[in-house]
Symmetry: C2
Subunit: 292 residues, 2 copies
Amino acid sequence: MSSSSLASTQAERDALFSRFSLNQQTVKQWSLPALVAGCTQAGVRGVGLWRAPVQEYGVAAAARLVRDAGVTVTSLCRGGFFTAIDPKERAEALADNRTAIEEAATLGTDTLVLVSGGLPPGSRDLHGARERVADALGELVPHAADAGVRLAIEPLHPMYAADRCVVSTLAQALALAERFPAERVGVVVDTYHLWWDDTVGSQIGRAGAGGRIAAFQLADWVTPLPAGVLLGRGQLGDGAIDLRWFLEQVDAAGYRGPVEVEIFNPVLWERPGAEVLAEVVERFTTHVMHTR
Amino acid sequence: MSSSSLASTQAERDALFSRFSLNQQTVKQWSLPALVAGCTQAGVRGVGLWRAPVQEYGVAAAARLVRDAGVTVTSLCRGGFFTAIDPKERAEALADNRTAIEEAATLGTDTLVLVSGGLPPGSRDLHGARERVADALGELVPHAADAGVRLAIEPLHPMYAADRCVVSTLAQALALAERFPAERVGVVVDTYHLWWDDTVGSQIGRAGAGGRIAAFQLADWVTPLPAGVLLGRGQLGDGAIDLRWFLEQVDAAGYRGPVEVEIFNPVLWERPGAEVLAEVVERFTTHVMHTR
């Protein structure tokens, strides 16, 4: 493990906190201006944004808003959902992804997170769906190159394999990414999706060696899972995941990019955004930054 | 793929149906005598039993009941839950597993299914928990040998890793099993838990080559998952899993044992048991046995 992860001095802790980023979904109750103002007030300099609220506000206006506030957009969520077999659906998905690439560029982030999509209705062909993901990447890479954007394949937890994301492990995401240049296609390491996998440490090493870690996201795993299993992510420190171990792994693999907290949880959305952000920062400090 | 899986002749279909087994949890509404009578009437000659209803009926009485009816107990579910750190809890778990081994022997089955257990409260050490599973197996193997029983490690879907089973993949289950003789420790291949894994085909091959496939269980994957994600297994053919592909894989790996249908679903439990069994058999015929 690299000593830089230990954050034993104030300077090291400052350096680590400078990488902290708040994903917009964690404080979904905040409008985009409230998010930017709240982060600025809290000394948080990075945000991960989502396409729908950005489009609602206006992409160019959102870009101005964050730029004027001196806030960095660490990622845009999300493109993807390109597993359709139907040619028309597939063409629409690719067009939408080209738009997402342009939006990322406008916002000044080089990281577009991709969630692949699940099995088409009635299909049981996981392998075929995964190959269509590779095909879609091949079509999008030139557009990403033109825009200076990197496509970041996010493996989602295997419980989403049927209906949301046929890419279920970091190994699978890397096998897809490695068909393309590292500066154009990377992977997302998200603790919530990958924590159970006993090979994740070695796969993070593989990702780092290839320069493929495009984003690092944190959420904790808490049970029981809610119906639909979409909105049950835990506040940092509330669950089963050794978050600091993950930071140490990506650090040892050479990753020096943002550490983005992305928690989907309606309980957090019912509280004032500033209170949630303060709690996230406190938990980040306690469970991720501090030495063991 | 071996031609024996194709079941193209009536004799081959008969041979495959002779391996069909109904796990008791699929028709939880049935008492043990109703289960045995219902299976006998339907021409089903194998049942997978659970410890609680068997204990309630009396283990020796249950053994007589199935023997007198000419029904084979294909597996007993389940031992395991031996990830505790506390010495007293650990000793209790091991004692309970020795009892489970004796129950399996009394029932005339050589297959005791083990679900490892999750993380102890407050622990985030998946690796440590997995090592305690290996230690527990080491303590139980001599008892299993004395009783002529095989311990069958069941990897559960990664969504259960925190609270139910730290063994999440067939590769992990095999790595544990391979520390012990094949006749004493095997693995369970359950489609519901393993279908998402792109390495499962090669791992089934590894399991077969080592003589490690102790049981093969079927359920389908349907979404959305219910709260708690325990009782949402799908009727065969209703979901995302290519069940016949799985049969072909275990068949090609040399497995010739029971094919057990184990569906946890309250919707099935609300219907008459005989109707559910007839539907399961029809679905098994359509989605598992028939040629493509």
